[in-house]
Structures are given as structure tokens and as C-alpha cells.
């Protein structure tokens, strides 16, 4: 099915491109609503997957990291638990609307935030090899637009000129700019700057008041994606997962920095759920983080940069709930370089499955043109029946 749709889309895109070159208006073309929507929550700093979905059935867990393992976890099955901060997510799981992938990562093992972030957003084969992002390239192929809920345009969404961003200003003494003035300014600029000022002009016609906390932005994004002419993709960033110190509180392993940030993620997912309304049935949300953290606790009630982590998925398109993992084990010999959780699932495959489902792109095309990895494993059937 997806192959068929891809054919139609490619045709439309080709048509649009040639009409554009001929100077014809392109409105109305390639605007058919795709199959669904895709939202990415970027967890900046490297989320500790072993605390988010603790493998409670692995005897090494408590041996290696008792002091930072959540006590009030919700058992998902005999082997995995769920961090107590993820309350809404737990409800979704109970209803078959959320799944997690464990011991997963992008193929990047050098533990630098900035190289890692570039890899997970750029989706290239090595750090800083891409000027555009994997989601941006996918949207370009599908001919549909995405929106980032941020002041900047994150790398992950770059690569498709229709993509935009949203982050409402609050500046005393200035009102929304006049569209005709900004359009005039745009005419004085070249290329991408002109294009951006044109977007500013367009945006200034709308009057949207949204609080800037991640959950409110998620709700707004969900509402926007639920509209017929709304964006098909959205990006939200949640910071501060770099829990080197005080990942948990000294006397309460269910509280602390990680617990607070996971609550934000939970609120963001809940915000999306509320905003999407009926469009939830066609939505997929996934998290993305640059790496997991060390298996062992460091000297400051935290964990240092590691490798394998967890991906959280939610949305009405999932065919059921579960934790998908090829568990590598936690003992020293099973760890990556004797310190990190090994990654046994390439998270690019998970991203590819979500793209396939939401944008109707063919897996082989995603693998070769978006991730430049033609032999990328297809894991679609594990999530979407």
C-alpha cells in the first residue's frame, strides 16, 4: 500500500517542481493529506533509559544501580517497569496506545552530546555530515510541511522550504508586525532570508496566544496538526537530561532531576493527546535522545554519558503496547565498552517505521534517501500491524 502512495506522491512532487520552475503557482498541489502525523520529542542531554524503563527482571540492575533505580515503578511485565513520573504514558500503555523500545540507539558510540545530537537530528552516517535533518528530508519527499515549536529551526526539520516554526513572542511595546511591511522587507532580501521574512509576514496575520511551556506547545501542535491544512509533523525539545549529578534525590529515588524531566515528557505527550483530538488515531509520537547513560552510578548520584537508551512511542496508530527489545544484559561483559548499555536495535529503523506509517513513504526509499543506509532493517511490523 505504501508503495502505491509513494508513487502518487513522487508524481505530484515532480509536477510541482516543474511547474515551480515555469513560474506557475503551486498552491493546491501535493497538498493531499497524508496518512497521519509524526511528532518528535527531542530529549536533550542523553536520557537514562535504564531508569526510564528499568529492566527489573535483570538481576544486575539492583547490583549496579540500586541508589538511582526508581522504587515506585509500575511493572509492565516480568522484566520491565515504568518510571513513576510517566503517569499519563502508563494510561496510554494500558489502552494499547504506547510502546517503548529498549537498548536502542543511533549508530553513534563516542558519547559527545554535540556529535550525538547532530547524528540523531541529521540522520547522517557520521557527525556533521548532513546540512538537513532526517525529518526535513522525509517531508521534502512527501511534499508536506512540519513545524517546530521553538525559536530556532532545529536541524532535524531542515531540508524542506515549507517547514516553519512557532514560539510566540512577548515583547513590551511591540505588537504583531504588519504583514505588508514585512513583505516589503522580504523583497529587499535574497533567497532563504527573503523566504523567511515572507513566512514572518504570513504568520503575523494570525493571532495565536499560547503559553510557552512544552506541554502547552504540544497541545497547540496537536491542534494544528489536527486541522485539514495544518502541519503533518512537529518537533518539541525538552532539555536537561544530562544527569551527571543528582539524577535522583538522596533520600528518594523516585524524585530528582530525571523524575522532573520525565514528568515534562509525560505532560508533553498528554498535551499532544488533548490537542490532537480525533487526529490522535492517525498520529505517532516518538522520543529521540543522543545517547543513554552509564550502567553504573557515578560519584555524584548521577550517570555519565553512555550508549544504549530507550525510545518512547505513543499514538493511535500503534497496533498495541509493549516494550520491544533484544535484551543485551547488564553484566560487565554484556556492556558496551564495559560501561554502557549495549544497543541492539538501530533506532533509525524505528524512526523509519514511523515515517513509513505517517508519511506513507516506502521503507527502501527512507533507508536509502533519508538515512543513506540502504540495508537499514525494517521493523515496521513490530509497531504497526
Amino acid at each position: 500500500m505504501s508503495k502505491l502512495i509513494l508513487g502518487r506522491r513522487n508524481l505530484l512532487k515532480a509536477g510541482a517542481a516543474s511547474l515551480f520552475l515555469a513560474g506557475m503557482p503551486i498552491a493546491g498541489l501535493a497538498k493531499g493529506k497524508p496518512l497521519g502525523s509524526i511528532s518528535v520529542i527531542i530529549l536533550e542531554g542523553g536520557m537514562d533509559g535504564l531508569a526510564t524503563i528499568p529492566p527489573i527482571g535483570d538481576p544486575d540492575l539492583m547490583r549496579m544501580r540500586k541508589s538511582i533505580s526508581p522504587e515506585g515503578y509500575l511493572p509492565l511485565n516480568d522484566f520491565f517497569g515504568l518510571h513513576p513520573s510517566l503517569k499519563f504514558y502508563a494510561q496510554l500503555m494500558a489502552r494499547g496506545h504506547a510502546s517503548a523500545v529498549h537498548a536502542t540507539a543511533f549508530p553513534y558510540t563516542k558519547r559527545s552530546h554535540f556529535e550525538g545530537q547532530n547524528m540523531i537530528e541529521g540522520g547522517g552516517l557520521s557527525p556533521f555530515s548532513e546540512k538537513t535533518g532526517w525529518l526535513g528530508r522525509a517531508l521534502e519527499l512527501a511534499g508536506v510541511a512540519g513545524r517546530s515549536l521553538s525559536l530556532d529551526m532545529p536541524l532535524i526539520l531542515r531540508g524542506h522550504h515549507e517547514n516553519d516554526n512557532f514560539y510566540p513572542a512577548s515583547i513590551r511595546g511591540s505588537s504583531r508586525p504588519k504583514a505588508n511591511l514585512v513583505n516589503m522587507i522580504a523583497m529587499g532580501h535574497q533567497m532563504d532570508a527573503a523566504q523567511i521574512f515572507t513566512k514572518v509576514a504570513h504568520k503575523s496575520k494570525e493571532n495565536v496566544q499560547v503559553p510557552r511551556d512544552p506541554a502547552s506547545l504540544a497541545k497547540y501542535a496537536g491542534q494544528a496538526m489536527g486541522q485539514a491544512d495544518g502541519p503533518v509533523a512537529s518537533i518539541i525539545r525538552v532539555e536537561n537530561f544530562d544527569t551527571h549529578a543528582n539524577q535522583v534525590e538522596e533520600d528518594d529515588a523516585d524524585a530528582g532531576r530525571l523524575a522532573r524531566q520525565l514528568s515534562v515528557v509525560d505532560d508533553v505527550i498528554a498535551g499532544y493527546r488533548r490537542g490532537l483530538g480525533k487526529a490522535w488515531d492517525d498520529a505517532i509520537i516518538l522520543t529521540l535522545t543522543e545517547f543513554g547513560r552509564t550502567v553504573a552510578v557515578n560519584g555524584t548520584l548521577g550517570t555519565d554519558h553512555g550508549y544504549g537508551s530507550v525510545g518512547l512511542l505513543a499514538g493511535g496508530t500503534l497496533s498495541g503496547s509493549g516494550v520491544i527489545a533484544d535484551w543485551p544484559g547488564l553484566s560487565k561483559k554484556d556492556q558496551f565498552e564495559k560501561r554502557d548499555l549495549m544497543a541492539t536495535i538501530d533506532y533509525r529503523s524505528v524512526c523509519a517505521a514511523c515515517l513509513e506509517k505517517s508519511l506513507g513513504l516506502d521503507h527502501d526509499l527512507i533507508a536509502s534517501q533519508i538515512f543513506h543506509q540502504p540495508d537499514l532493517t525494517r521493523v515496521f511490523d513490530h509497531f504497526f500491524a
Binding site: I171, A193, G299
Partner: protein
């Protein structure tokens, strides 16, 4: 743009609306590099530009004292004691004891009024290179690190600046080093015998010292090198809220910029990237000196300086010329800066301006009074926002919570509709509320605006406000195109 303003835009903050213009720009650059750097500003919006009062520029030990007092009152507030839980008491505690807002305001006023514009641009480059993000406690120290760790050391050696910033309590706190202990340190050993005692290594600063501050990943160091660097750093710094008696007991001193806790230090020698580092407090200087003079550091930072001032994609020969003076001068920053600025003013293409740089330039060109005086820093003003809020809205502030790699020097990372919308809106707000002293035509004449810019301004009609926004958001004033 005429030569004076083209150069000032590229390497400075623009000449203020009433400043005399130098004729010999090469000589001016040399004078600028040696210019005195008093923190200039205004006490209130009608006042003359003078130096900031000393009492608003406390040293580290005063800052630490204020931090301890802030925490103590905050505790009383939580416990509902001594009337500290009222709104007024909470506010008074923040205003009296926290430095964050004052420091940012001082930085902003410096940049709006300073006569040392080139040094201020270099300061921003290095403050960004050695990013200290705001984690609450570091908010009390960032301003001090920028003034004393960067600005005051612009004409020394890179090795001195590196050691100074690495040992500054702001950096040691931001990257968790104040809580790190060597794995075989006395503290870690005794802790192991007690339940619920945590002491051990935290490699956060060790990693970023190598990756961001010096050699970069291109050096191909190993995880063991990071680990060893962290072991060298273990023991350095102390929690800023620690009582003085505890500090004296642990470090033998009450000087926060030289706090070394022997009990937390890793005994024995270490090896970082092949270099043997001796045990003890001298080991860190040995390490930072080794890193400061490493070829990969010289390459990494020469490239970054070029990317900031010369071009997003500097040529190999541009980078080589900076590396060459770096080697010849043994890392003398004055010599290095001179070379970078020379390349910058001769660069054939425009360089996109950071949001904060652009905002300062708009204020200086127009003579706007867009920032409050220091006397009114905490007063509500229905026209002028607090500096903190201005830069939060603009999307760039050295007092924000952010990642240690700092702000990008690459134009592509700043290109977004929301970012551009802020330029339009701040130009608007500065015109409307900033009491600008120069008309658009006067500004265009003075800077020698390009015909293309004049035509663009003329195209939007006769509203002075629209013209002002258009000029400030033109390709020429945003640093998007040389026209």
C-alpha cells in the same frame, strides 16, 4: 557602508550615534585592543554615562556570602519563619542577594555604552567558547567569570585564560566538578565504608575540557583520556553555598577561585593523551598548559575564531594564518586577535550577526535608551523590559540555561521565521520605546548606507517607524549581504 562602520559592524558594536569617527582604522583596532574597560552605564534613563558603582560589582567572596544568605532566607521562607514567606520578603531576598539580573544588566549596559567595542566582541566570543550555563547557583558567578576570567584576560596568553576559566567556580559548578571525587581519593575511600555516602568521579568537566574548550574530538582522544582528565580535576572547586568554616577546613583557604580539596583529589600521577601529569594541585596547570599548546587546540580555536569573525566557512589559508601567529607568539591572545581581526575586516563576504550583537548595534546607531538605569533595575517600567527578559525573548543570553557548546557561529542555525520576527519586533520596540536620537536618514548618511538599503527603506513609505524597522532588518544591517 563606509569603512568605519563596515569594520565596526564586523568586529565591534558600531560607533555610537554621537561618537567621533577615527580616520585610521588599523590604528584604531590596535587602540581598541588595549582600551580600558570600565563598566559604563547609566544610573537612570536621564543620567549621563558613567562607570558602574563598585557596590554593584562584588567580588567572589561577597557573592558567595550573598548566596549563603539567599539560601538561608529561602529555607526560612519554606519553613514559614521570620516573616520570610511573604511575597515582599521573597522579592527582597532575590533583589538583595542574587547577582544574576544585575550582572546581565551590567553586561548589556557595557555593550550599549562601552568605548571598548572590539574588546566587548572578543569577550562575547570567549564567553561563548567557555560557556557557563545558568543552573541557579552559577547565575551568581557567570558575570564574574565574564568580567574577571575573560575580559580582564583578553591580552594575556590563551593558557592563562584556559586555566583561569577552568578553575573559576562558575565553570567548576556548571560542569559538576565541585562534587567530583577521585576514585581512590581519601573521601571516596572513607565513603565506601559508610552506607548512603556518595563520593566518586564525575567526568562532565573533564570531557568538555577536551572536547569543547581545547583539542576537540578531532584529536581522537579515548574514553580513558577523559577519565584521566576528570581524575586530574577531582578535588577542584567547592559548592558555592558551603560555609566558610567548612571551606577553610577542606581547602585551607577561603578563596573561591583557588579552591582545591586535597581529600577529594586522586592520588598518583595520571596520563592524558600521552602526557604524564603529576599528583597534587599543580597537576591541573600542567594539564591545561599541555592542552593550551596542543596542535589540535590551536587548530580548533583558530577555526572557531575565523568562523565567528571572518566567515562561516573560512578558507584553509585564513585558518593557517591564525595558527601560524598562534605558534609564533606561544598563544598570545593579543597577537592572535590582531590577526583574526585583520582577516575579518578584509573578508570579502558579509557575516551574519548574532541576535545580541545586532541589538546592541541598533541601540548604539540610533542612540536609543532602551535599557533601564541600574537604579531602576527592579522597578516595573511600562516601556522598558528588564534586560533579562529582552535577551530571553531575543533567544540569546549568557545567563540562560543552555548546553556547554554555546551559541552557533553558523548563520544556518539562526535562520528561522521566529528568530527573524524578533528582529522586526525589537526594532519596532526600540523605535517606539527607546527614545532614539537619530532619524533613519541621519543614520543612513552617517554609516554610508548602500543605495540598495536606501531604496529598500524608501520603498516602505514615509512612516519613520516603518523606515526604522526596515533599515535595521535590511540585509546590510543584519550582516546578510555586503552591498
Amino acid at each position: 557602508m563606509n569603512k568605519q562602520f563596515r569594520i565596526a559592524q564586523r568586529i565591534g558594536l558600531m560607533f555610537r550615534y554621537d561618537q567621533d569617527l577615527p580616520q585610521d582604522m588599523e590604528a584604531w583596532i590596535q587602540l581598541q585592543l588595549q582600551a580600558p574597560s570600565p563598566a559604563l552605564g547609566i544610573a537612570n534613563t536621564g543620567a549621563k554615562v558613567i562607570e558602574w558603582p563598585n557596590e554593584l560589582q562584588p567580588d567572589l567572596s561577597k557573592r558567595a556570602g550573598m548566596w549563603r544568605r539567599y539560601r538561608a532566607l529561602k529555607k526560612q521562607q519554606r519553613e514559614g519563619k521570620n516573616g520570610q514567606d511573604t511575597q515582599a520578603a521573597r522579592q527582597a531576598n532575590r533583589h538583595e542577594n542574587l547577582m544574576r539580573d544585575k550582572d546581565e544588566h551590567k553586561f548589556v549596559q557595557r555593550n550599549a555604552y562601552g568605548a571598548d567595542q572590539v574588546k566587548l566582541r572578543l569577550t562575547s566570543f570567549w564567553a561563548n567558547h567557555f560557556t557557563i550555563g545558568n543552573t541557579g547557583d552559577t547565575g551568581q558567578m557567570i558575570g564574574h567569570a565574564i568580567d574577571e576570567g575573560i575580559l580582564a584576560k583578553l591580552n594575556g596568553s590563551f593558557a592563562d585564560m584556559l586555566y583561569g576559566i577552568t578553575t573559576h567556580p562558575g565553570m567548576l559548578t556548571y560542569l559538576d566538578n565541585v562534587w567530583s571525587a577521585g576514585e581512590r581519593s581519601e573521601q571516596a575511600k572513607s565513603c565506601r565504608r559508610k552506607p548512603d555516602c556518595q563520593a566518586g568521579l564525575n567526568d562532565n568537566l573533564g570531557r568538555e575540557l577536551l572536547e569543547l574548550h581545547t583539542v576537540s574530538v578531532a584529536a581522537g582522544y579515548s574514553e580513558d583520556d577523559i577519565h584521566s582528565a576528570a581524575q586530574v580535576l577531582a578535588g577542584w572547586g567547592i559548592d558555592f553555598g558551603e560555609e566558610l568554616s567548612t571551606m577553610r577546613e577542606r581547602t585551607g583557604s577561603t578563596n573561591h577561585w583557588n579552591a582545591y580539596k586535597k581529600r577529594w583529589a586522586e592520588p598518583g600521577g595520571k596520563k592524558v593523551m600521552g602526557k604524564t601529569i603529576y599528583a597534587g594541585r599543580g597537576g591541573l596547570r600542567q594539564l591545561t598548559d599541555f592542552l593550551a599548546n596542543h596542535n589540535h587546540t590551536i587548530n580548533h580555536i583558530s577555526t572557531k575564531l575565523c568562523q565567528h569573525f571572518v566567515s562561516d566557512s573560512p578558507t584553509k589559508s585564513q585558518i593557517e594564518s591564525v595558527k601560524s601567529v598562534w605558534h609564533q607568539s606561544n598563544g598570545d591572545l593579543h597577537t592572535i586577535h590582531t590577526q583574526v581581526l585583520k582577516l575579518a575586516i578584509n573578508a570579502p563576504e558579509a557575516k551574519f550577526l548574532w541576535p545580541m550583537t545586532w541589538l546592541f548595534q541598533v541601540v548604539r546607531l540610533s542612540g536609543a535608551t532602551y535599557f533601564k538605569g541600574w537604579e531602576n533595575i527592579n522597578d516595573y517600567d511600562d516601556k522598558l523590559m528588564r534586560s533579562k527578559k529582552v535577551f530571553e525573548e531575543l533567544g540569546q543570553s549568557f545567563w540562560s540555561s543552555r548546553q556547554p557548546n554555546g551559541y552557533s557561529n553558523n548563520k544556518a542555525d539562526w535562520m528561522s521565521a521566529e528568530m527573524f520576527e524578533r528582529r522586526v519586533r525589537f526594532a519596532d520596540a526600540i523605535y517606539k520605546n527607546g527614545r532614539t536620537r537619530r532619524s533613519v536618514n541621519k543614520i543612513m548618511d552617517r554609516i554610508g548606507a548602500a543605495e540598495q538599503t536606501k531604496a529598500l527603506v524608501a520603498s516602505v513609505g514615509t512612516s519613520p517607524r516603518d523606515q526604522f524597522i526596515t533599515l535595521m532588518c535590511s540585509p546590510e544591517l543584519m550582516g546578510l549581504e555586503y552591498v
